[in-house]
Symmetry: C2
Subunit: 141 residues, 2 copies
Amino acid sequence: MSHEEKDYIQLLRSHGYRVTPQRLIVLDAVCEVGGHATLGAVIARVKMLDSTIDLSTIYRALDVWVEVGLVVVSDMGEQGKVYKIAGDSAHHHLICQSCGKVLTIRDDEFNPLLDHLQAKYGFILRADHLSLPGLCHDCAG
Amino acid sequence: MSHEEKDYIQLLRSHGYRVTPQRLIVLDAVCEVGGHATLGAVIARVKMLDSTIDLSTIYRALDVWVEVGLVVVSDMGEQGKVYKIAGDSAHHHLICQSCGKVLTIRDDEFNPLLDHLQAKYGFILRADHLSLPGLCHDCAG
DNA sequence: CTTTGTGCAAACACTTTGCAAGTCC
DNA sequence: GGACTTGCAAAGTGTTTGCACAAAG
């Protein structure tokens, strides 16, 4: 695994949570799925690592990791919730409604919009994972 | 109700659907709730208009209206699905993660972003109802 | 040893489906 | 009359909760 062991153990403890194998496995699963891990993908991965872990435990463990801030979750509507390790560079997705292709764009491409919203409404956009529907180059033609 | 009666009756028929009071009531409900009608709001409204209409009928009727194109649905994740009469001017929401306040912004405020995405990726943004998370003016200070 | 976490089963909310009876055309 | 719809009840989903036992600190 790519994350530092001490850090997240301290993180759990400092929030009054205990360190359990189940929680570590769930965290590993999110890591290993990588990128944007859908709930289904995380569950599948956890079950692969240890099939005796209960579904409710997975839900609870994910809540804990989100609570302590090591994992961030975003609800993408149709696609359900996706989990990822906090600190990954923010980015967004362009999803083609015709062919389903997914383009990834960097967060800073939103800066003009972000500046505009802040200037006009005082609203600070804090989206680290948007999914924007539309038509890709191939399907638009 | 604000919609033309003939139009949507023809619309149903032309798609091979029958005109039933239940379907009309569901359509009315979406109209009356106005703007973005959450599923819950639509259901509540329908029940108010005629409490004998079954939940399954409401779901099926909404599917029919979406199918014929008179109603559009967007899945807003956390907030669930919202329904609205097709043809309303497109716009988007800024949702404050701290206080829950919702700001509505016009679609054309996205034009710079839209142009950028089209120029750089050939991607045509087709979002008529985005929800962007962030912090509102009051909470950001 | 005390407190927290787990697995299990049951409860839950939300949505869909099968079917007989009713309705639209 | 014949096909489509409805209401009802039941079955699915996906997620949460209560509780006795197990594990962490």
